[in-house]
Symmetry: C2
Subunit: 250 residues, 2 copies
DNA sequence: CGCCGCATTGACGGTTCTCAACACAGGTGG
DNA sequence: CCACCTGTGTTGAGAACCGTCAATGCGGCG
């Protein structure tokens, strides 16, 4: 199995987490074409304002969706792990108001919108799974918005660490108590809406409380329960159960 | 035409803004069933955690989607105007992690998911329009996230006022310089992630700068250009143009 | 070795929160 | 008609959170 197919397989697993797909439907997803591209860290994969014709599937590394302000400051609005289709929503809305950047060295597969659309139309169950995947993306976005509006930086950082643990565990990259997270403090600040300096201080507060030990490469959670308490973390918003049990199989 | 149909018509206009639909497809949307319900202000229409079987179409008034914290504080994550389907995404994900509340006295129509799903499957173009509508919702969410992370309260308030002007103008409720906005300062604070006290002070700053005059019922923008400058407002994220020109008509 | 990006620390200032008080309008019951 | 109540808007003072600026240390890499 080549890298592109390995990425598709992870993407398919992600879909199957929330949607039932028949063998035919699964085969249709697995037969999507794509071109593998390697990028170093800190590169823009999609520039804000582009009109795009291909979706970006993360095979390895971490990518970020961001919004850019006039002064050049960035707010990262989503983190994308291996198996995530960064901009599945771009299939419906090709005019990118956002950008995508590689946060760590990243291997991606570029998949033509046209092929994705054809699968969605030919297999309504897959189309529904795509729609649902977009909704999951929005659910995470809403939770981040709520955290940014109502929680302290320390609590937001704890929340993000809890979330990344669950998502990476699902991907088979470590488990929820210890996992790789190759992000700089500056990038974490761009996610959480704080400056690098303040992120550093928030992190030290978590270390001081003996909740977590982490560096630029990996996270070790010392007291998961305590961390979840600081974060008020409830993984429900990640929608980890089958959603189609309520929708007549679609 | 009854109220339910009037609401559907506005919803259809919203879809047509971004997606082309054939006469048959439009008729399918207009034939969706629904039950009209009136609610006073400050009522929960959907409780967080519910499993829901009907989507909520706003016919009149303003509704808000919110996330609730352990201490009872709310963060409003979306505002829904007449013609908006509050929780179209619930068709794909019926397990609500969010809640919906009426912010002003509101008339809604409750539309069975089942009917919406059937239309989406029978008419792939409509299904695609639904998906696209969900993406627009996410685009606004991302812009709000970015504002919350990177802008001052004053700038965020200015941004929200600019956005509401455009959205209400599209609805035929006033124009972008003067429009009804029946929200309390406390509710605006819940949208912008600030306390009512600080929202009041941010608003006074805008009044001081002679940018806007507003009360609990309506907004009059005195200097739209100045306001957009404070907000760094660019309406692109509202995706007001036809998106299907890039997607082969879907 | 020297360079560069990143983590860390300190001092200071601005933004926003909390707590508290008061004004005002609309609605309700006497 | 008036007294009262409640929700909302407004203002002030002090504290907590977070940003800015600046300097230092540290590790990887040429």
């Amino acid at each position: 199995m080549n890298d592109h197919q390995a990425g598709l397989k992870r993407f398919l697993s992600r879909l199957l987490l929330r949607s039932s797909l028949s063998v035919d439907e699964q085969r249709a997803v697995m037969s999507l074409p794509g071109k593998v591209i390697d990028t170093p860290a800190h590169r823009d994969i999609v520039e804000p304002g582009d009109i795009i014709h291909d979706a970006t599937l993360v095979i390895d590394g971490i990518a970020g969706r961001f919004d850019q302000l006039a002064d050049g400051h960035r707010q990262i609005t989503a983190l994308h792990l291996p198996g995530d289709m960064c901009d599945l929503h771009s299939v419906a809305v090709p005019h990118a108001g956002w950008g995508i950047e590689s946060l760590s060295p990243t291997r991606i597969s570029s998949i033509p919108h046209e092929a994705i659309r054809k699968v969605a139309v030919d297999y309504p169950g897959v189309g529904f799974a795509f729609w649902r995947d977009t909704v999951v993306d929005g659910s995470v976005l809403a939770k981040w918005l709520s955290a940014l509006g109502r929680r302290s930086a320390k609590s937001r950082l704890a929340h993000l660490i809890c979330e990344m643990g669950i998502r990476l565990e699902l991907n088979g990259q470590g488990d929820r108590r210890a996992f790789p997270l190759p992000l700089t403090q500056s990038q974490l600040g761009d996610v959480l809406g704080v400056t690098p300096v303040h992120l550093n201080r928030s992190l030290q507060a978590l270390r001081q409380d003996e909740l977590v030990a982490m560096n630029a490469r990996e996270v070790r959670i010392i007291d998961r329960e305590g961390l979840e308490h600081v974060a008020e973390f409830d993984p429900e918003y990640l929608l980890l159960d089958r959603q189609d049990k309520y929708t007549g199989g679609l």
